[in-house]
């Protein structure tokens, strides 16, 4: 610090450093500035005492106020859940078909269902609900077991062929080829017939011979017109949607070995409100069917009682 000197025009001492002829004057700080610095030091000491601050070997000091980011997250989650409570209670109280599309409650339920879908359903049905071979698309207007909100809710709650749920939706297609009910040539013919219904194969001799086989073996579940039956989850065979593939080979494989897809009964894993929200979300994807009130319960039952 040998170069300290008094700057002549200002009468102020320099700090003693020089950079290319530029020197710095050692003007005093304003007193309030010094105070402010001391205040920040006091604040920092207080901060270190009340908040986690000093790293130790395994963790660190916890601070007098016991604050932690995990604790804050837990508190915020709790507050968020409490804030949701009223909405969830309202959803729980309303029968699913009375939650009107476009209403505030509906929008919230669909948003909740979307979140639950991401967590529980995308593994099979895909993030966009477009399905995969064997796992139906939820975006189309083709429903195996019914596409109104109530039916969807039942499907989600009880699952399909779920071994853990007595009320699960269940049906079993025989393995016509494997079990020898039909000869390979017959399977081939019936596949040709089925594909000819939707124009995917010509109405040739094989198809015509398949028609009789269909009436004898398949129509009991899939119907005489092959349009399926939701009572058995039997798919409509005249439309463009093929769960296990619509090529001739795939249809032959399906008739030979049959399929019996399983969906878990989510009622055992998710609470009823989440299932209701999931049903509304799935229904909102663009292919949902309108809910029509059944006229009377006995009539509806007798109507479904097909062999």
């Amino acid at each position: 610090m040998a170069n300290k000197r008094i700057d002549e025009p200002t009468g102020v001492e320099t700090v003693g450093h020089e950079w290319d002829g530029i020197e710095e004057l050692n003007n005093p700080l304003p007193r309030w500035w010094v105070w402010t610095t001391y205040l920040t030091i006091i604040f920092a000491i207080g901060y270190m005492i009340v908040y986690p601050a000093i790293p130790l070997l395994h963790s660190g000091t916890e601070g007098l106020w016991g604050w932690s980011s995990r604790g804050q997250l837990a508190a915020e989650l709790k507050a968020a859940n409490e804030a949701k409570g009223e909405t969830l209670a309202a959803i729980a109280a309303a029968p699913i078909e009375t939650i009107a599309p476009g209403s505030d409650l509906y929008n919230k339920a669909v948003a909740g269902g979307k979140a639950a879908f991401r967590q529980n359903c995308v593994q099979c049905h895909g993030a966009g609900a477009a399905g995969n071979p064997g796992y139906p698309s939820l975006k189309d207007d083709d429903w195996l077991w019914g596409g109104n909100v109530q039916e969807i809710e039942t499907t989600i709650a009880h699952g399909i062929r779920s071994p853990d749920d007595a009320a699960t939706r269940s049906s079993l297609m025989p393995s016509f080829g494997r079990d020898g009910i039909l000869a390979p040539a017959q399977v081939n013919d019936v596949a040709s017939y089925v594909l000819s219904l939707s124009g995917k194969a010509p109405n040739d001799a094989a198809a015509q011979s398949g028609a009789a086989i269909f009436t004898a073996n398949c129509a009991v579940c899939h119907g005489n017109d092959a349009k399926g039956s939701r009572a058995f989850g039997a798919p409509n065979l005249t439309d463009a949607v093929w769960l296990y593939g619509g090529s001739h080979d795939k249809v032959v494989a399906s008739v030979t070995n049959a399929h019996a897809g399983v969906m878990p009964a989510w009622g055992a894993k998710l609470d009823p409100v989440t299932i209701k929200m999931l049903a509304l979300y799935v229904h909102s994807l663009g292919g949902g069917e309108d809910f029509v009130e059944a006229p009377t319960t006995p009539a509806a039952e007798s109507g479904n009682a097909q062999p």
Binding site: R5, R31, A127, A130, S137, A240, G286
Partner: protein, 483 residues
Amino acid sequence: MHSPEPAKQPSHLYEKRKAVFPKAVDGRFRRFKWLVMALTLGVYYITPWLRWDRGPYAPNQAVLVDLAHRRFYMFSIEIWPQEFYFVAGLLIMAGIGLFLVTSAVGRAWCGYACPQTVWTDLYQHVDRLIDGDRNAQMRLEAAPWTGKKIFKRGLKWTIYLLIAFWTGGAWIMYFADAPTLTVDFWTGKAAPVAYATVGVLTATTFLLGGFMREQVCVYMCPWPRIQTAMLDEKSLIVTYKDWRGEPRGSVKKAEKNPGSVGDCVDCDQCVAVCPTGYDIRNGPDIRCITCALCIDACDKVMTQLGRPRGLIDYATLEDCASEKAGGTPRPISKALFHTRTLIYTAVWGAIGLGLLFALGSRSRIDIAVQKDRNPPFSQQSNGDIRNDYTVKLRNMEARPRPMEVTIEGLPGGVMWTDDLPRDKAARSLAVTVAADQVDPLRVYVVAPDGTAPQKFNFVLKAKDAEGGGDVSEVRFDAPGEEE
């Protein structure tokens, strides 16, 4: 320059603020300062109370920053968040405006219009009102804490606090309907952030205007440093004409020995009136905010002595040099209009015109379409290919507008929405978009099986007298190759 034996100075690491007690002064610059103060404070306090009729669907406050609904209203202009570039443009204009003002008339912003200056000035008038002028203020400051002093300080600080509170209170009026907010504020129903904002602004106004004053300009504010870099020898600054004033001497001395002393009689009036306590005769300094009150004070003295005014005056350093050499002072217009100010004016004006043009030609109706990408398409039971879109219709007018969305292209394509049932699917869709809103629609578009992937347009048309519309091109995905 180098003094071999540095004088032993006591080393002061810090220094107590030297209180400034500026003397009242009258003159043309003081009157101009009054005018600017009345104007700026008037604009600040009154603006939120101006009304502007926008019809039943929009607030009737002339200037309103509606953060909750993300709208900014300024008289007939309404700005949405995505139009924030208008605000950015205004800020850029304000910045260049400051450059322009600085290059033309020096630190005029600091001297007249800066809030710190305006409020400090206001508080200094409160000082004079309660404590009296400079000498009385200094006496009271030095006096012991008697009952009278305690009363005067209490009264003064209460007035400080009231002004500070009024300042903070006026600020929040820009962010909500002023009459409603006033009632809510006093009945305890306003948002916590409103009370917090008033509290913070009251505290800062009280502290910065009442006590920190020139310390803000000298130590805290970056602007004087920036302005210093923008000043040059062509900029008008407040200057003491030392060649005319020095050596200083009393009137007696001048009478005894004419010609031996300059015009400055060392009366220190220029220092007494200075709101930052600076002696302008020491030359330009960061403490000088160029409020020109010293010019008023000096002119008054010079007039009394029968000497020409302008010993301290607005002048450029260039003019000073030529005057010193015996030249005649240039007219002030010459100092104002030089290349740099003209360039700044041109840039400033160009941005302003650009903003006005953009404002006049902006669209008040808009369609934005986002296509669902997962899945890109789905097949329906009858074989139709369905694509899903989120369509946002924007109505920026303050009234509901009937609109029509139509599919252009995509042969055989029809659409439905969450409101329009699937069996009524059509190629066009009538929607009424609420006033001042974005209406999001889920739109499902189906086209017959075999439709190739292609692009098509959603066309939006307003079905009212004013008309207008917008188009958005989107993709339609389908199995197979693009045409």
